[in-house]
């Protein structure tokens, strides 16, 4: 039996695939509100340390890699300056019926 017949991988970027397409909501950073931007130095970075998928890089502001971000929203929750918001990936349609149901 070869090692390739058991489920294992080498740790690497995206070893579980492009998980960004699992996302319902995408985070966005408002640079003007981010304390790292305002102070002009690598400070805070709380979003980077909390991201469970390690897809935020340190920076002014930090950078979110949407190829792998699953949209959990933890970064938006933990940002002490409320500089991170979440927006829907797509507008979902509303089901209507012939009887003229919900709009």
């Amino acid at each position: 039996m070869s090692a390739h017949q058991v489920s294992q991988s080498r740790p690497s970027v995206g070893e579980a695939g492009a998980t960004g397409d699992w996302r319902n909501e995408a985070p966005f950073i408002v640079a003007a509100t981010c304390v790292a931007v305002k102070l002009g130095k690598i400070t805070c970075q709380i979003c980077w340390s909390y991201c469970p998928d390690a897809c935020i890089s340190q920076g002014m502001p930090p950078v979110i890699d949407l190829t792998y971000c699953k949209g959990c929203g933890i970064c938006a929750e933990v940002c002490p300056h409320h500089a991170i918001g979440m927006r829907a990936e797509a507008e979902h349609g509303v089901c209507t019926t012939d009887e003229g149901g919900a709009e």
């Binding site: 039996m1 058991v6 294992q8 070893e15 695939g17």
Partner: protein, 406 residues
């Protein structure tokens, strides 16, 4: 080789010691506890050079075994009933990660209500978790099978449960030939080719997220998807249909005892009726067969050693030409029937002239079942068959009317 008069639990512990296991992690539970108490004492005294990891639960016990096995150690644990159920998540992990773990199960009834006595519901309920399951008929077979289990597990990278009836074997003494360390060392060399070694210089994710479709990994190698891993795992269980008898034959050549591989039989060749079970019940069935043979009934025992993989082809062959198979299950798939009876009916579906299969449920929660009870149930099954019955609901042996004390 020396002969000792020992319990089934002592036989299991001696086998783990002879197999030179390197890591033991276990949590006490009746009727398994004496297995790991013995091992703990030997590790403490220095008689056995192994790590004994005490844990707060069975879930952690198997987790420790999984991690130690992942880095190449030979590991052992044992449990029973609700302890096995508590392990359940890791039972699946051990199998899916293809780790050659050996775990003894001293079979005990599942709660609720609490009951420490024997049936086989605990391990039979883990039937589909991807482990090999071997059932033992006496204490000698417990020792020999536990040693064999390491060779089977390490050849196939599939974990093995060695199951034996609680109290009936676990706490009952009988003479057991104990092979020498040299004999077992020659049969079972150290684990030389661990599949997965976590080396700090070359780290690995073990069992990472594996989605539906095959996908290139970080090195550009296309890796199996989840379904491919499951097919490989199933293939290993099917390969076990050949490896289990091979290892039994190798053990016979090295140690001088054979247990028949997947199944075995007693006075079955000329029989019209087969009586079928797994575990110590089969020893009692040989006594029932002797009583029935004395009356002129042509009956024989078909004993199941390997329940998973299920030896369907071998059982079809052994039952060719029989009129009736009476299956005695010490477990129940609620709302259907005994697990062995159901599996056997499926196995016989393609037989040219399959025997009728009548199931019996017996011994749940330690309810006594004697060779006389088994002979009586067989007589009733034959009477039903002669009356033209081809299928019937399971008969509950020794089920007492409500309020009846005896």
């Amino acid at each position: 080789m020396t002969t000792k008069v020992i319990t089934g639990n002592e036989a299991a512990a001696i086998a783990a010691k002879l197999a030179r296991v390197q890591v033991i992690a276990a949590y006490p539970i009746t009727p398994q506890s004496p297995v790991v108490e013995s091992l703990s004492a030997w590790v403490e005294s220095g008689e056995m050079p192994a790590e004994f990891v005490t844990v707060e639960s069975e879930h952690s016990a198997l987790t420790v075994c999984i991690t130690a096995s992942t880095v190449g150690a030979r590991v052992f644990t044992a449990t029973s009933a609700n302890g096995l159920a508590y392990m359940n998540e890791q039972v699946w992990w051990a199998a899916g990660a293809r780790l050659p773990i050996v775990m003894c199960i001293a079979n005990r009834a599942m709660a609720a209500p609490w009951n420490v006595l024997n049936d086989q519901q605990d391990s039979m309920s883990e039937r589909d978790a991807g482990w090999i399951q071997l059932y033992c008929r006496d204490n000698q077979e417990i020792l020999d099978t536990t040693v064999q289990a390491y060779r089977i597990a390490e050849r196939l990278n599939v974990p093995v449960m060695v199951c034996y009836d609680g109290f009936l074997l676990s706490h009952t003494v009988m003479p057991v030939d104990v092979p020498s360390a040299e004999q077992i060392d020659a049969f079972l060399p150290p684990r030389t080719d661990p599949l997965q070694i976590v080396d700090a210089a070359d780290p690995r994710n073990i069992g990472p997220v594996t989605i539906a479709d095959p996908r290139a990994d970080a090195d550009g190698v296309v890796r199996p998807g989840y379904m491919e891993f499951r097919a490989l795992h199933h293939g290993a269980l099917l390969d076990a249909l050949e490896v289990i008898p091979e290892v039994d034959a190798e053990y016979a050549a090295a140690i001088g005892r054979s247990w028949g591989g997947l199944t075995w039989e007693y006075q079955l060749a000329d029989a019209d009726v087969a009586v079928i079970a797994a575990g110590s019940l089969t020893t009692q069935l040989t006594l029932a067969v002797e009583a029935l043979r004395a009356e002129g009934v042509r009956v024989g025992v078909l004993g199941i050693r390997s329940y998973r993989p299920f030896p369907a082809a071998e059982m079809r062959a052994r039952l060719a030409g029989k009129k009736l198979a009476v299956v005695f299950d010490k477990a129940l798939s609620y709302g259907y029937e005994g697990p062995i009876a159901g599996d056997l009916k499926a196995a016989l579906f393609t037989a040219e002239t399959p025997p009728a299969v009548f199931g019996c449920i017996c011994g749940l929660g330690g309810r006594d079942v004697s060779p006389e009870n088994l002979a009586d149930a067989t007589r009733r099954a034959i009477t039903d068959l002669d009356a033209g019955v081809r299928d019937r609901a399971p008969e509950w042996i020794n089920l007492r009317p409500e309020g009846s004390a005896s």
